[in-house]
Symmetry: C2
Subunit: 437 residues, 2 copies
């Protein structure tokens, strides 16, 4: 028979077991932090009706979506977890308790031309809080969630940067350039890439007055501690309602963050952050590794005012953030920041010397499992001991529990510590205590 | 703006949070059992190249698959976890350690016409052991894994039924009807549905001699305890190599199962089980709830001889089973066998009386979380106490921790037990001990 060359679609992630263990640990840490804040789990389908998923989309999203017909249905794979959330909240609004705090960790799909760190299938880890009206405390809580998640992941020093779109919009109102704000935001958003001079040139191209450009530059150059930035913003003396609202929100969040006990070094007001063009309406978040800023933001999000506008008349506010786990894992792996896992799946390999001692070996395995020791039994009883030990070694199983006629007579086990290359005869309870250490 | 009616594609499962918690608990119990046996985690992509996924397929599979073009790629959604495993083992054969024991819990896709308990998107929870040559012990281990999984799920009394295809094939050899065995197997496989008389008629239609039909009926009517069945099979005195091999395997498995300590009531040799036509080559498994046999098998699988035949010359044997979790959950839910979860996501709701006590409340929340108590802070500080308590009640949060000026003065919290409708003033450490029980 002709063989097909086995291969995996580029732009999808498929790991070897040891790497998968580490990836799953990261995913589990994030999940635990989300649950520690009381977020409820959600698991919406990956396939949805195209009409529903694309209610809002257009442009890039629509081009990138995996869309197909099956029977009478026009279907698509979800490209994020936010649109499914909007649908879910609209559909179940009478059954849910608000504020509805949910997390969802799942795969999303984009028809990208695959290249390094661009994926067709990747994990997003989202948390959102949805309600008819959301207090600004929720915006602060998001910073606490991000902080706790990255503390728990323990990967590198990080800074959570926030801004408020109302401040930017209020400024543009005051400068009377609101009609050009979409373009101005787009230009400001990339200042880190293009630098101040190019930014000025681009603003000039928009026919913005040089005095206004000076103001914009003055504004986004505001520096100092978080408190100093807030003071300087106040001193700009901009009196539009929008600006004042945004500034009040920023100050409140800043106070809550102090109250959470988040260190100053992990939180920064960054007035340059705009995050895209039309979605967010208040607080926006980006998170950077201090020493690897070139990775871009590893956790982003923001406040939005009308989550469900395409599906229901009822208005829901929301605030949320998302970690793109697949990309994060791959980037960190390349940087050598991913450590090998110390959590083995099997903690002990039970090795019967031969078929005659199988019964005692299997009883031993059961006792180990009943005591929360994950236990594999080496399945080919007739292989030589060297092969059996080599197997444990290659799989990084830390203990081998050898059973022979002597062990049965003495009702004990020979426990081999694979790392320290030592072994001792132990009662089963002693072995359990040692392994569970 | 016109609103789109929000809806979820039929044949997919989307749960409300309380149900999702229960579903996730089931999934987690299965995962823990799989890991307790040392199975390694795997997470292959949901989208694969159609050429790879459909290497073997044909007929029903090909009709049911979600297939689409994107760019230059002809892609499909996986319809099971076995084909991706075959690809994975072929692709990574030089990097994996054999026997390769993996579990995968993930969604698979079938373009079914949706009806009750038929899904387009559903979870499969698979375990398999793969190696060049697999000792029969591995077949027995699968029974141990299924037993442990359903013990852990604690849903209803269950029986794991096994048979061996070699016994059936050996019998057909002996009866010299091997050329018709595919049809005969298909007919035997449905005896529970059609009964003995219809089965006889169908066998007559195949032009099988009446004496042979008697033998077949005698064979599949073999009854008694597992040991008695094995003895009766021996007494049939069928001397084909195939039959004897199957019988030896069945007897060995039966012995191991006794050694595992699996009760007789949970394990049964059932000579009628054939499981499909062309895939399995030895042991086959089905699992039934004793009182709900009409649900069909809730965990099935078997031994196969050449997992990777479409992708590589190297031959791999395998044995594995799969739990269809989505269907299982839905069926049990309808039967009222799913209990509400006692594991709340948030164990305590921290409620500051007003904004002035926020700082103390947030510090309290942090201490609770640092001590492994998942903690939600009620985010609208200015709401009245009644609303705050009602929120906790509706979300089934078992404790509310009220913070006011008095609590700050006395450096304590007022802890309300929502189920028992009691409350007491406690030091934070006392509160933690009480909540953690």
């Amino acid at each position: 028979m002709n063989k097909l060359k086995p291969r995996t679609l580029s732009g999808t992630m498929e790991l070897l077991p040891n790497d998968q263990i580490v990836f799953n640990e990261m995913k589990e840490k994030i999940r635990k932090v989300y649950e520690s804040f009381g977020f409820l789990p959600l698991d919406t389908p990956i396939i949805e009706l195209s009409e529903i998923l694309l209610a809002k989309a257009g442009g890039e999203t629509e081009k990138q979506i995996y869309r197909f017909n099956k029977g009478d249905n026009d279907l698509s794979l979800r490209f994020d977890l936010t649109v499914p959330l909007a649908k879910y909240v609209s559909l179940h609004q009478n059954e849910l308790v608000f504020p509805f705090r949910r997390y969802q960790i799942g795969k999303v799909y984009r028809g990208e031309r695959p290249q390094k760190f661009r994926y067709r299938e990747f994990y997003q880890c989202d948390v959102d809080i949805i309600s008819d009206k959301l207090d600004i405390f929720n915006d602060a809580e998001m910073v606490n969630v991000i902080y706790s998640a990255f503390k728990s992941l323990d990967l590198a020093k990080f800074t959570i940067c926030i801004n408020n779109r109302k401040i930017l919009n209020g400024l543009f109102d005051a400068l009377e350039i609101s009609d050009k704000k979409v373009d101005v935001l787009r230009i400001i958003d990339k200042i880190d890439k293009i630098g101040e001079n190019v930014m000025r040139d681009e603003l000039v191209n928009l026919e913005i007055d040089n005095k206004m450009i000076d103001k914009i530059c003055e504004f986004i150059a505001i520096s100092g501690s978080n408190d100093e930035k807030i003071e300087k913003l106040k001193k700009l003396n901009i009196k539009t309602e929008m600006f004042e609202e945004g500034l009040t929100e920023l100050e409140k969040i800043s106070n809550y963050i102090r109250q959470f006990g988040i260190p100053e070094e992990n939180f920064k007001i960054d007035l340059k952050i705009a995050r895209g063009l039309d979605y967010y309406t208040g607080t926006v978040y980006e998170t950077f590794f201090d020493e690897y800023r070139n990775l871009g933001s590893v956790c982003s999000g923001g406040r939005y005012d009308n989550l469900t506008e395409y599906y229901t008349e009822r208005k829901f506010q929301g605030v949320g953030v998302s970690i793109g786990l697949t990309r994060l894992y791959d980037q960190l792996k390349e940087l050598g920041l991913i450590k090998e896992s110390k959590n083995y799946v099997a903690k002990v390999l039970v090795v019967p010397m031969d078929e005659n001692v199988a019964e005692f070996a299997l009883k031993t395995a059961k006792i180990l499992r009943d005591n929360d020791v994950s236990t594999e039994v080496y399945s080919n009883f007739s292989k030589d001991m060297k092969s059996k030990l080599k197997y444990a070694d290659r799989l990084n199983i830390p203990y081998v529990c050898i059973i022979g006629e002597d062990e049965i007579k003495e009702n004990c086990v020979m426990l081999k510590n694979m790392n320290e290359k030592t072994q001792e005869k132990l009662k089963i309870n002693e072995a359990i205590n040692l392994i569970n250490g």
